[in-house]
């Protein structure tokens, strides 16, 4: 697991404390009842805190799965 995904998994453990860590990789708003709009903002704020970045909401528009968020984070860290 890349460092980005490890950090993201840590954010998931806080945003969704009841989720099994084994389910993080496949988690999405579609299969996670607790993943509503408030949880999405909380998750993005946690990511901002964990990665030490100012979150650009537009960048994460439609990113409602672990995989999609991880991809966008990896893309932005590669271009940084």
């Amino acid at each position: 697991m890349t460092e980005v995904r490890q950090k993201l998994a840590h954010c998931f453990s806080i945003a969704f404390p009841k989720m099994d860590p084994g389910d993080y990789a496949t988690a999405s708003a579609g299969n996670t009842a607790a993943w509503d709009s408030v949880a999405q903002v909380t998750l993005l704020s946690l990511i901002g805190e964990e990665f030490g970045v100012d979150i650009d909401f537009e960048q994460f528009e439609g990113a409602t799965s672990f995989e999609a968020i991880a991809e966008r984070l990896e893309r932005s860290s590669a271009s940084a």
């Binding site: 404390p17 408030v38 903002v41 909380t42 946690l46 100012d54």
Partner: protein
């Protein structure tokens, strides 16, 4: 606190006890809710926190609805957009100069309505009110470097509103800093604050709403602390606390202690010094902490911890209610080792900014809502107690008590009796069960049918002690139950507790009284009192005292009693 830490605290398992509180604002509460809940979890460990919020954009309605619900407190956060939506970033009705007058009219009307709703809420529960912390948006034609008439008039409307609502006793204004405005978050989600600001606001609001019980006493060192210099080396005229001598921080410290003493905080000296020199130093006319504001002076060459021990004995309070201040880390360490509960703070004489931070810290530890008669009497009665201690024999003799000319006043008290509330929440030693109350719980206990609460005042030939005891409970048919009984340690050894029961039996006509007793680590004096009547009270959860047993074992009482 970081957001991740707050979320972790909130997800920890809680006990069965549920505490309901409200967070009322016109914006999306989002992270403020998370931080506030975490602060409440930390303030009330082991309890489940139910923090109720309201609807977006409806601060007035949220306050109205909360006033009709259960809750032990409410945090109300007002922002400019709650006074008029055009003062927020999420409205786009125009910022023409033609609408400015209308904004002022709307804001004034909104303030009047909020005032009425807040008054109703404050009747139901204590309220912590946060005034706008966000910067005003650029609504006027003026450049941001200038403040114009519109802003001044708007702030005047707000200040007048805040002054009016703060006059209601159950509304406390939170002293909040200007906001870190997260504009992007505001526009995207409707939550306007940076994480750091939300955290700070939550902490301040919770501290304001549920303040920790204040500490009771300060013990201070002298050399390089109360004043600059070493008294033994430099003499009485060589020590200083003034701007001219570059020792103004000591003057600020002295005037803080004097102010705290005035508000009923006990102040004592623990110093390795020559007692005669210290006496002379306190005779200097320019000293700001006066000799009569200090009791006792423990000045000797022995260990500081021994001096502290004697001060605690004179005050008759526990170390955890006390702050000790010294410039020497070694002395602080020695005292801390002997008294782990005492809060030891170093006087940072070389850093004025740190001294100011220390003074603020003292205000935080000893802050109180108001100053009462008992605060004024406290020091005098401790001095009197010391004289009594010197005069009386080792065992309290009935002859000694009979000559005290003691007078007791017992009066019925209601929920508005703040002294009774304060006494119940800070007394440890003579305390029936150690139960503490929030303001909402305190008000609620008066709703019980047959409830009673009596406040007891005492004075004798050594002076008044003020209201020093509270007893409360309820009567049900011929049964009398006492679920609350505290007495200040200043009032021990005067048989006031026996007289209190004597009068309770008389007032209620009960043949026996049930006490909801619970032994705590600190209420040994209460346990000792009940041992007069029955063996090993510490092993019992409820004590039943028949009138006959009381009469057989109650000592002769000499108080003149007035009942109101």
């Amino acid at each position: 606190m970081r957001l991740s830490e707050a979320l972790r605290i909130n997800s920890e398992p809680a006990g069965e006890r549920e505490r309901h509180a409200h967070l009322l604002c016109g914006f999306t509460p989002l992270h403020l809710e998370t931080f506030a809940k975490a602060c409440l979890r930390l303030r009330f460990p082991g309890e489940a926190i139910r923090l109720h919020t309201g609807l977006y954009g409806d601060l007035e309605g949220n306050i109205q609805r909360a006033a009709g619900q259960a809750g032990e407190g409410a945090i109300v956060v007002i922002e400019w957009s709650d006074l008029d939506q055009r003062l927020g970033l999420r409205a786009s009705a125009g910022w023409s100069f033609r609408i400015l007058e209308d904004i002022l009219t709307q804001a004034a009307e909104r303030c009047l309505r909020l005032e009425a709703h807040l008054a109703a809420l404050a009747r139901a529960m204590p309220v912590a009110l946060v005034a706008p912390t966000l910067p005003l948006p650029p609504v006027t034609h003026l450049p941001p470097a200038r403040t114009g008439v519109f802003e001044l008039r708007l702030r005047a409307i707000l200040l007048d509103f805040l002054r009016r609502v703060s006059e209601a006793s159950a509304i406390r204004l939170v002293s909040a800093p200007s906001a870190g405005h997260d504009v992007k978050m505001d526009l995207e989600t409707g939550f306007p604050y940076s994480l750091a600001h939300a955290d700070e606001l939550a902490q301040l609001s919770v501290r304001c709403l549920f303040p920790a019980p204040p500490k009771k006493g300060i013990i201070t060192d002298l050399d390089q602390t109360l004043w600059k210099g070493i008294l033994g080396d430099q003499g009485v005229d060589g020590i200083s606390w003034s701007l001219e001598d570059r020792s103004q921080v000591h003057a600020l410290y002295q005037q803080t202690l004097a102010s705290l003493a005035e508000s009923g905080v006990l102040v004592a000296i623990a110093s390795k010094n020559d007692p005669e020199l210290v006496e002379a130093a306190f005779k200097r006319p320019d000293i700001l902490l006066k000799e009569d504001q200090v009791f006792p002076f423990e000045v000797s060459w022995g260990a500081k911890s021994e001096a502290i021990s004697r001060v605690l004995k004179a005050w008759n309070i526990g170390a955890d209610a006390v702050v000790f201040i010294d410039d020497s880390a070694m002395e602080l360490g020695e005292v801390q080792e002997k008294f782990p509960g005492i809060e030891c703070l170093r006087f940072p004489e070389r850093d004025p900014a740190e001294v100011l931070a220390l003074l603020r810290q003292l205000r935080e530890r000893f802050g109180k809502d108001d100053i009462q008669e008992e605060d004024r009497l406290r020091l005098r009665s401790l001095r009197a107690a010391a004289i009594i201690e010197e005069e009386r024999p080792a065992e309290v003799s009935l002859d000694f008590l009979s000559r005290l000319e003691a007078k007791i006043t017992i009066e019925a008290a209601g929920p508005e009796n703040t002294r009774a509330f304060e006494l119940v929440n800070k007394t440890n030693q003579f305390n029936l069960n150690g139960k503490r109350f929030t303001e909402a719980e305190w008000k609620a206990r008066f709703a019980r049918p047959g409830n009673f609460l009596h406040a007891i005042s005492y004075e004798d030939r050594f002076g008044p002690l003020g209201r020093i005891a509270v007893i409360g409970g309820y009567t049900e048919d011929a049964r009398c139950v006492v679920d609350l009984w505290v007495m200040s340690c200043r009032a021990f050894s005067r048989h006031i507790e026996f007289q209190t029961l004597r009068r309770l039996f008389d007032r209620t006509g009960a043949g026996e009284i049930d006490f909801q007793f619970r032994p705590t680590e600190r209420n040994k004096p209460t346990q000792s009192f009940f041992e007069t009547f029955l063996p090993d009270p510490a092993k019992q959860n409820e004590i039943r005292l028949p009138l006959r047993t009381f009469e057989e074992r109650c000592p002769p009482l000499f108080h003149e009693v007035t009942e109101r």
